[in-house]
Amino acid sequence: MYKLLFQQFLRTRACQLGLTLVLILGGISIIIGKQFLTDQGRLADQATQMQQEHIERNVKLHGDDLSLLLYYLKFALLNETDPLAGLSVGQSDLNPGVQRIRILALEGQKYDSDLVNPTKLLYGNLDLSFVIVYVFPLLVIAFMYNLFSEERESGTWQMVNVMARSKSKFLLGKLLVRFLLLAGVMLFLIGVGAVVLGVAADTAFLLFTLTALFYLIFWFALCFWVVCLRQNSNVNALVLLTIWLALVVLLPAFVNNYITNNYPLPEALSTMIKQRDGYHVKWDTSKKETMEKFYEEYPQFANYGFPSEKGYSPTWYYAMQHMGDVESREDSRAMQLKIRSREASSRMWAQVIPSMQAQLVFNEVAGTGLDDYMDFLQYMNEFHENLRLYFYPMIFSNSEVASVDWGQFTPEVFTNSNKSINWTKKLGSLVITILLFSVLSIFSVRKLI
């Protein structure tokens, strides 16, 4: 029977059209993913090459003054791109993957954005996660909406009624045919993507695949329940499309607007002003005061003492710079906290909205979510401090430029390693919704005449 059901379904126009569409879009999405990874790789290469040239040139230009040289020198920090990012680009196209940092006040450099076409960002990426989250459900709907009603509308249901030993088995058979086909296509696309992008077969990839699969099953369960409510094809199509619209367009937009309004970030702007004022005002205040504050932060340097109130002093200059960060620290932390709450809040909402859950898990697994970027920024603080603490004593003691081994300063790569996968948290809510709709379907299927 399954063979015939397969044949019958494969011959429908909806099936042929739908599969062609999703294969084309899937193909495009993998190409786009590849392009994205290539760009990221190119960026990393450029950063490495540029860093070397940049240091060489500046050492040549300002080789007589270490403090002046370090005013100019930029040290690159790279955010490592997981190949999975090619499948789910997430926010990593708008948040910079590399930041070149000077040892001056960090707050003024940290948030330097990338050069991106805002219109492109608005329309969004056509990556595989988009195809899975947006397009696959549409195919599920297109394949499922008349699963039962077409039999009734064309009059074959009566026949099935009489002939089939179990009507629910017949319907489940039809369902299974459609599911196997779509799941096959989806796994095929993910597989091709993995090979093309060079994704490692690790737990992250497994989680990605399972999330995609469960998300697909969720849509099948939902559609099956709706079609078993015995409405006609038109009503089913409308109801299912409305649900799709709600799940992938309206609800995420709703939640996003809510989060944006609920956690406004004026701190972003005030951090900026405080950082500038914190540093610049020091030019006009007593040097001693500034140095005292600086030594409070770093008592290990207290032995460098206080420069004369008249004239310029590199120790004082870098202390002033650091004061910019110190005085904006509170606002900066408040901002970090709020951004983390934004992420936490959207994860909470995602527990009840499968489309959001799938997208967030994809991004998380690929390391392209907001949290990953925040981790990067947090690491940047460490990176910046390490550099400063390395150079401070040299600047303060007027060391020779030549005494530094400049070759060691290749771009640092940040790998987010402290991520553990909590399977129940990632897949639990999807499984629960699948079970819910399966149970509902069982009840409705029983009532079918």
Binding site: L21, L25, I28, I32, L43, Q46, L61, G90, Q91, L94, V98, D112, S113, D114, L115, N117, P118, T119, K120, L121, L122, Y123, G124, N125, L126, N234, A237, L238, L241, L245, V249, L250, P252, A253, F254, V255, N256, N257, T260, N261, P264, L265, P266, A268, L269, S270, M272, I273, R276, H280, V281, W283, D284, K310, G311, R342, E343, Q359, L360, L370
Partner: protein, 478 residues
Amino acid sequence: MRRDVLLLVARQFWTSVFKSKAIYLLLGLTLILLFYAAFSGVSYHEQNHHRIEHQQQARESWEANPDKHPHRMAHFGTFAFRLKHPLSIFDFGVESFTGNAVFLEAHKQNVVNFSEASYSTSLIRFGELSMGMILQLILPLIVFFLGYAAIVADRENGTLKILLTQGATWKEVLYGRALGLFGLSCLFYLPFVFATVALLLMESYTADVWIRLLVILASYLLYLFIVSLLTIIISVGSKTSKNALVKLLGIWLLLVVVIPRTSQAVGSFLYPTPTKLEFRGAIEEEVIQFGDSHNANDPYYNFIRDSVLEVHGVQSINELPFNYPGFQMYVGEKISTEIYVRHHKELLDQYRRQNQLTKWLALVNPYLGVKGLSMALCGTDLETYASFQHQAEAYRYELAQAMNELQIKHIRANVTSSEGKVNVVDREEWKSFPDFTYEYPTVESTLGSELLALISILLWSVVALGMMNYWARNASAL
């Protein structure tokens, strides 16, 4: 076409729709969405208050500076906070993806930072709920839902034959139903018009804003007109109501979801943009070709220095009647700014080329037409953002050069250090340099750059009417 028959058919369609409960449900849902979108729009726009506050705060600390060396002030710098256009409450456009604040200082073109998207979760990529979005995306679906069966259902059950034998012509039936459907869509549209006008009336705005609103409202009206006609056309051209529905939903997906993303992806693929490293690198490279204005021994600047010395007939810069380092920076700023502005324009042009395909596709996709037009007129498109960047950069240049001029004029010739309270300029100078103010582009320039979208909407109206007339002649009642 007889007017009374037309109205009769339209009214009958209207009353039929209102006999079912679905319409009230749809109206209710739309109103909820509208309310939420308007609320979001207003509260997004409220951020202007923060920005104005911060602009003032930044200005206060600028003015609070004591007597200082002007070059310190050039680096003290100031900020430009991007203010949202009053109409951004209606359509968010690229607003969330563009930076909101930029630090303006001498020698250095900082990027505009803190876009909403940069600290939003990836949910923002699902799209944002604005009034414009509901009208562009959701309302067409509602119109399809209300109208997909308008003709084909009557044909399926034979009522169409009665309609025609009762004396109505095809033209009257088609246009009557279209009129009824268009009327219904206007009913959904009207609350949006009221809401926007009411929100705008709460604050007083210039004529420019009202003209923009007028064009926006008119183009959405035309968009709904096109959508209504399209629904009727698909309905008359389909064999069964199921076919009509599936076709319309397919068209919706194609026009709204598939084409925009794909065309933008293709555009970006065809016209790659430089990375920030490349962009900065290329500028740095060019600037270095001239020389380093901070470096007193740079060959290019040495040449300039020697020419200046020659003109003034003196031996060293200390004998010049003005501060030479200030002059050198003045020249350097001019050169580096020219180079930056040129590169930045190239970058913008590349963005424009990336968007070109999407813009042209408006000719076959009215959704893209109305979206582009709406974003542009609401001041939330790339061009408006570019104008902000342009103005901020122009201000930055003015600021840097004003400080350089002060240095040239007021600082003694032989002074090279900017530290301390010795070589300073009166603090009143800071106050007399005006603060940054942002001017939105005028409606004329906006319409000029969105001509294609405007044409698309008008063209589609004509095409839709043409197709209606085609079916009025060729439709079959059987």
